[in-house]
């Protein structure tokens, strides 16, 4: 469903709006309301973050949301329960560090699919790092989405693209997740370089927080991923996060000036 959804959007010439939210943040009940609100505001894909105690690729906003979720007792299985409760019509991608997945047991992919999850993204399992576990994660019922970084050499981009499913997640800049004022000036070139070796849709994340970012990146990529900005807004209120998503949607859909 993830691949189909991404390709259908691409065929329509529509840019994908991928929204990230940490499971159980601000609390489990509001988490479900938030996801439903994001869908109604025009999200095409929902990335659900599995809280982890040591999120080394995350900046302060997502760290704090992860910590809050852990304090609410949210686990990978609680996360799946919330996904099932939300009954979303858009594809759901689990966004996790490897250790909670390993601890969840060998049938975790089946349990996730049964709960309504379509894809999986693992922050700390780069392509080639553990062929056995990568084959396990990629060989199950979920689309295993892989990441490309600004430091990734061109030959490795091609290798990552070969292993990816659903879409390729391009990290826009060096560093951890978090909002930025500006986008890297060489981002269009990086996207073009990746496009040259990759037939999957390309979604760009990290640092995209404002409608003008959405518009700028949408001019080059197939979609955008917005995380910290939504999580920060959701920390204030679900309505604020939904309003932000609506404004990102309009910016993304606005005809190019």
């Amino acid at each position: 469903m993830l691949t189909a959804r991404c390709e259908a959007l691409r065929a329509q010439g529509r840019r994908a709006l991928v929204c990230y939210a940490t499971a159980g943040h601000p609390d489990p009940d509001r988490s479900v309301a938030l996801w439903q609100g994001l869908e109604s505001a025009g999200a095409d894909v929902l990335e659900v973050g599995v809280p982890f105690s040591d999120p080394m690729a995350d900046g302060p906003v997502i760290q704090a949301s992860s910590q809050a979720a852990l304090e609410h007792g949210v686990t990978l299985d609680t996360t799946l329960g919330l996904v099932a409760r939300a009954k979303l019509g858009i594809p759901v991608v689990l966004f996790s560090y490897l250790n909670p997945i390993l601890a969840a047991g060998s049938d975790v992919l089946r349990r996730a699919a049964d709960a309504g999850v379509h894809g999986l993204l693992v922050t700390d399992l780069p392509v080639g790092s553990d062929p056995e576990r990568e084959a396990w994660l990629g060989g199950g019922p979920l689309d295993f989405v892989r990441l490309v970084a600004p430091t990734t050499p061109r030959a490795r981009m091609a290798e990552i693209a070969r292993h990816g499913r659903g879409f390729v997640y391009l990290i826009s800049r060096l560093g951890v997740t978090g909002v930025s004022d500006t986008l890297p000036s060489d981002l269009p070139q990086t996207i073009a370089q990746l496009r040259g070796v990759c037939s999957l849709p390309i979604c760009v994340g990290f640092g995209i927080s404002r409608p003008e970012h959405a518009r700028a990146v949408g001019a080059h990529a197939d979609g955008i991923v917005v995380g910290s900005a939504i999580v920060r807004a959701a920390g204030r209120s679900v309505d604020e996060a939904v309003a932000l998503t609506r404004s990102l949607r309009s910016a993304l859909d606005a005809p190019a000036a």
Binding site: F52, S53, D54, P55, M56, A57, G59, Q63, Q67, L70, T75, L76, D77, Y97, L98, N99, P100, I101, L102, A103, A104, T123, D124, L125, P126, V127, S129, D130, L147, V148, A149, P150, T151, T152, P153, R156, I160, I171, L174, G175, V176
Partner: protein, 396 residues
């Protein structure tokens, strides 16, 4: 040999490179630079010269007559506490800083627990003219105020880490976040045999000088190899450093002493090998203190340098293969060990090393009178005197 790193960066099933994609090219670059440096006689010449003249190597092998009498077997002390900056940490920090300079990286990142690795890194950065940023948990900054001051005196920036348990684990996570952001221009000097490949083997190889010297010194002074080599294990760099030269000596026991904190059943300890299960943290698969959901369980030890929920992948491998034996002692026992070596030998060990002292002291009768025991005194206890005296005052 079985303990050597496999070609894919693993020790058996342990180790690996579980990192964000951004760091993969940085680790490839580091590995290539490391292998080129190790093959370059000029690198070794500069490193060895600085180890001799700046660090003060070789460190001595010292007999311990009164402690030996207590134990009932001759105990030999490998005196890493006598190195410049007072611990074994400088062996690795110096070598990695020279490597960073070769790679053209002028900014150095480090994490520190007790502060010994931070001090060692700040020291070599001052000497080589490199910028130095050290991440340290707020709780550890409180426990090790003196080391914070020492780092700042030498021009390092010490960044307090307020996340999580505010100890070594969180400092390491924060250092990795810095490196993900700055890897094209910064080198991250990890202080122990942990982290993604090639760090565990690199740090081991830079610490292996401890065991190479000690093995030769034992043959010369004691006329034989030790029956047992004993070292404390947090991440495990002094232990891996002294064990490495003895791994092929089948008759030599390798014994790592972990921190049992308030007791193994208290839930407040750092005994990853004794009580942990395999898991992934900070880029490697290793024995890890974690709950059933794969969340990392906070470690505890009276000694900031052992206060870490993971342990080097090579130790994880040595445990599973049976080549290494891993035991543990509590905070209370470690404090006894701290006082004991001072009273009997006039040597105040670091609280970390005091764990190894305490375990040997608890094993009277384990060794025959002609079976030598080699103990790694990984650091000196000056840094711990204030903390221990405060604890003593609280107790009275």
């Amino acid at each position: 040999m079985a303990t050597r790193e496999m070609t894919d960066g693993r020790f058996g099933v342990f180790g690996g490179r579980y990192v964000p994609e951004t760091l993969v090219p940085a680790l490839d670059e580091l590995e290539a630079a490391l292998d080129a440096a190790l093959a370059d006689p000029a690198f070794h010449a500069e490193l060895n010269s600085m180890l001799q003249h700046y660090v003060g190597r070789p460190s001595t092998l010292c007999d311990a007559p009164r402690f030996s009498e207590l134990v009932g077997a001759p105990v030999w002390l490998k005196r890493e506490d006598l190195n410049h900056t007072g611990a074994h940490k400088i062996n690795n920090a110096l070598a990695q800083a020279l490597l960073a300079r070769r790679m053209g990286k002028r900014r150095i990142i480090a994490e520190t627990g007790a502060g010994q690795h931070g001090v060692a890194t700040a020291t070599v950065c001052a000497r080589l003219g490199l910028e130095c940023v050290v991440y340290m948990g707020e709780e550890d900054m409180r426990r090790q105020r003196l080391n914070v001051y020492r780092m700042r005196l030498m021009g390092a920036t010490v960044v307090p880490v307020t996340a999580g348990t505010r100890t070594l684990k969180d400092a390491t996570t924060e250092a990795i976040r810095d490196w993900v952001t700055t890897c094209p221009t910064s080198h991250y000097i990890i202080g122990s045999v942990v982290g993604p490949a090639p760090y565990p083997r690199m740090v081991r190889d830079f610490q292996a000088i401890i065991g190479r010297e000690a093995r030769a010194q034992m043959l010369e002074r004691a006329g034989r190899l030790p029956r047992s080599v004993v070292a404390c294990v947090g991440g495990g760099s002094n232990a891996m450093g002294i064990f490495h030269a003895f791994v092929d000596d089948a008759d030599v026991e390798l014994i790592g002493v972990e921190a049992a904190g308030h007791g193994l059943d208290s839930g407040a300890h750092s005994a990853s090998l004794t009580r942990g299960t395999p898991g992934v943290l900070h880029g490697a698969l290793m024995y890890l203190l974690q709950d059933a959901n794969g969340q990392v369980h906070p470690a505890h030890s009276i000694s900031a340098g052992l206060d870490y929920p993971g342990v080097g992948p090579e130790h994880s491998y040595l445990k599973d293969s049976g080549r290494g034996t891993y035991v543990s002692v509590t905070d209370e026992q470690a404090l006894e060990g701290f006082g004991l070596l001072g009273r009997l030998e006039g040597i105040i060990p670091a609280l970390e090393s005091a764990h190894a002292v305490a375990w040997i002291a608890s094993q009277k009768g384990r060794w025959a009178a002609d079976e030598p025991v080699l103990l790694c005194v990984s650091g000196r206890g000056d840094k711990d005197v204030a903390q221990v005296s405060e604890l003593a005052e609280e107790a009275t």
